[in-house]
């Protein structure tokens, strides 16, 4: 089985988000970048499937040279080879175009990625790639198994789950509890250094959206404290003052 896992390079989830003074760009000073957590679930599941059934796992990132540390980490976790499309990931359409154009010639059986990145929160790339390739997509998947040429995916819907069988090739986006992410071991880190990492130039530059400015949410004006012995008073306040119950 030939698996492609798409990973995104995002600020660590503990990051306090700030912007440049003109609010046009994310302030990267002092920020640690990690593999998008949802993509890590996809990557780990791909490696598990490969270990159980044979095949290869290729990781792909659309990004500039500074993402290579995290691509190497994905190789250390257990991917076989990597591709970096050498471009800034400007919007979901652009990123999906790059992934689809690369995947077209490679005939992957399974294309996995996180359901969304924790920075842009588009929740779009999986479906866009699938539509561009003319194959089904199932999103978000919380369980994934492959038996021969059939994938069985449990997908979360609002208020329940669906179980779907689909013939390969397909795109699946990942969400917990698909699997537990793995931490690379020393052997993985050593071998990652010599695994192939290919840099490919992007095709086209079309986007469909442009970020104009960023804004931070308004701060809360202050918390009203209630003494624990009068806790019941909270309920009265929620009804008469906040009017939410």
């Amino acid at each position: 089985m030939k698996i492609l896992v798409c990973i995104s390079n995002v600020p660590d989830t503990t990051t306090k988000i700030t912007f440049t003074p003109d609010n046009k760009q994310f302030n990267t000073a002092g920020v640690q970048f990690v593999i998008n957590p949802y993509d890590e679930y996809a990557l780990t599941r791909a490696i598990e499937l490969k270990e159980a059934q044979g095949g290869t796992v290729t990781v792909l990132n659309v990004g500039e040279a500074d993402t290579e540390a995290n691509i190497r980490k994905a190789l250390a976790i257990g991917a076989d080879d990597a591709v970096r499309i050498n471009a800034k990931p400007t919007d979901a359409f652009f990123v999906a175009t790059q992934i689809a154009n690369y995947a077209k010639a490679e005939n992957f059986d399974l294309i996995l990625m996180g359901k969304e990145s924790v920075d842009y929160n588009g929740f779009q790339v999986h479906g866009m790639v699938a539509e561009m390739l003319g194959i089904p997509s199932i999103t978000p998947g919380v369980k994934l198994d492959v038996n021969g040429n059939t994938a069985t995916v449990q997908r979360e819907i609002e208020g329940g789950h669906e179980i779907i069988d689909a013939q390969l090739p397909i795109v699946v986006s990942a969400q917990q509890p698909m699997t537990e992410p793995r931490i690379p071991n020393m052997r993985g880190i050593m071998t990652a250094r010599t695994k192939p990492l290919k840099v490919v130039e992007p095709t086209g530059s079309e986007t469909k959206t442009e970020i104009e400015t960023f804004a931070l949410p308004p701060q809360k004006t202050g918390v009203k404290m209630i003494a624990p012995e009068n806790a019941g008073e909270l309920i009265t306040l929620l009804r008469n003052e906040a009017k939410v119950i």
Partner: protein, 322 residues
């Protein structure tokens, strides 16, 4: 040129998120000097669809193909694309749900459209610019985004707009996109409905528990308060990670993002990743025995105290409201 609103249905009813999308769509139509048309697929009656008039919808295109009772991604996209073509729609409104995302991402490519998900306000339209505000960095920030393609698709986050209550009924028109077997090939073979409880993504009130509750055997505190308030239950990431509660209840940056009217956090310290998942809630209540818990900074109401003493008092007071 009408604004097209995609309606999600379940168990014979229009979902609340779709009532919000319909209201949003009719407001955008007003901004553009046109009308709003809905497209509905699946498990719903014509009679219930007429009621969308209350949210400002003039006409509903209804595909009642029995094969589409459950969500079938490719078929839904085909029906909606055909409806958009029939209406010559330049703006399509979805709910920011898992289904909305599955539809929107494919539809955007098929129609060559701009897609903005997680949208939290009505658009600003002037001349040739069409700008929307959307949540980014997992609830920690917003971005104002220009949608540059001719056709624009917007997925509206829950609680962005109050559901409209106008008078008037929508007319319902039968609609079919001539689906083939291939269009319905990838369909659910089994649907596991979550029953009994109020659904977390749709809930107006959420009661959430963290490690401060000490163990799953104490969850009756969360459940009883939720029951008394008509709320859904949720939890923090550490709680889901140790399997005290199922993962679909995990609220936070890598779990579900909620935006209810009221979010009550019990025994949750308020790590930045958890705050990201809840900070668009209208009112936040924090109950924690640690007065230094960072969550108090993001709260509207707070109680410093032991959950095992405080929560029973809240349950008692909430019960007396009914």
């Amino acid at each position: 040129m009408s604004v097209l609103v995609v309606i999600e249905c379940a168990n014979g009813e229009v979902k609340k998120s779709s009532l919000e999308a319909a209201t949003y769509g009719s407001k955008v139509a007003q901004q553009m000097g046109t009308t709003a048309t809905a497209v509905a697929i699946g498990d719903i009656s014509e009679e219930n669809l007429k009621h969308l008039g209350a949210q400002g919808i003039k006409k509903v295109l209804f595909d009642n193909d029995a094969r589409l009772k459950n969500f079938v991604n490719l078929a839904y996209v085909k029906v909606i694309a055909a409806a958009a073509q029939k209406e010559a729609s330049k703006v399509i409104i979805l709910s920011n749900t898992n289904i909305g995302s599955a539809i929107g991402s494919r539809l955007a490519v098929r129609l060559g459209a701009s897609l903005a998900t997680n949208v939290v306000a009505l658009p600003e339209i002037s001349g040739n610019t069409f700008k929307v505000r959307r949540g980014v960095y997992s609830g920690k920030a917003f971005a104002d985004v220009n949608l540059t393609a001719d056709v624009k698709i917007i997925a509206v986050k829950k609680n962005t707009i109050e559901v409209g209550h106008e008078t008037g009924e929508a007319t319902v028109e039968n609609f079919s996109a001539s689906l083939t077997d291939a269009d319905v090939a990838v369909a659910p073979k089994e649907v596991i409905q979550q029953t009994g409880d109020i659904l977390l993504p749709e809930a107006d009130i959420v009661v959430s528990g963290g490690r401060g509750l000490k163990g799953p055997e104490n969850w009756h505190l969360v459940e009883d308060l939720a029951k008394a308030l008509g709320a859904a239950t949720a939890c923090s990431k550490p709680v889901a990670d140790v399997d005290w509660r199922p993962h679909h209840e995990h609220v936070g940056q890598t779990g579900i993002t909620v935006s209810p009217n009221l979010y009550i956090a019990i025994g949750i310290s308020g790590a930045i990743q958890h705050l990201a998942g809840v900070n668009s809630s209208k009112v936040i209540v924090v109950i924690n025995k640690d007065p230094e818990a960072p969550f108090f900074k993001a709260a509207d109401y707070g109680i410093v105290g032991d959950a095992f003493e405080v929560v029973p008092k809240l349950i008692e007071a909430a019960k007396q409201l009914r």
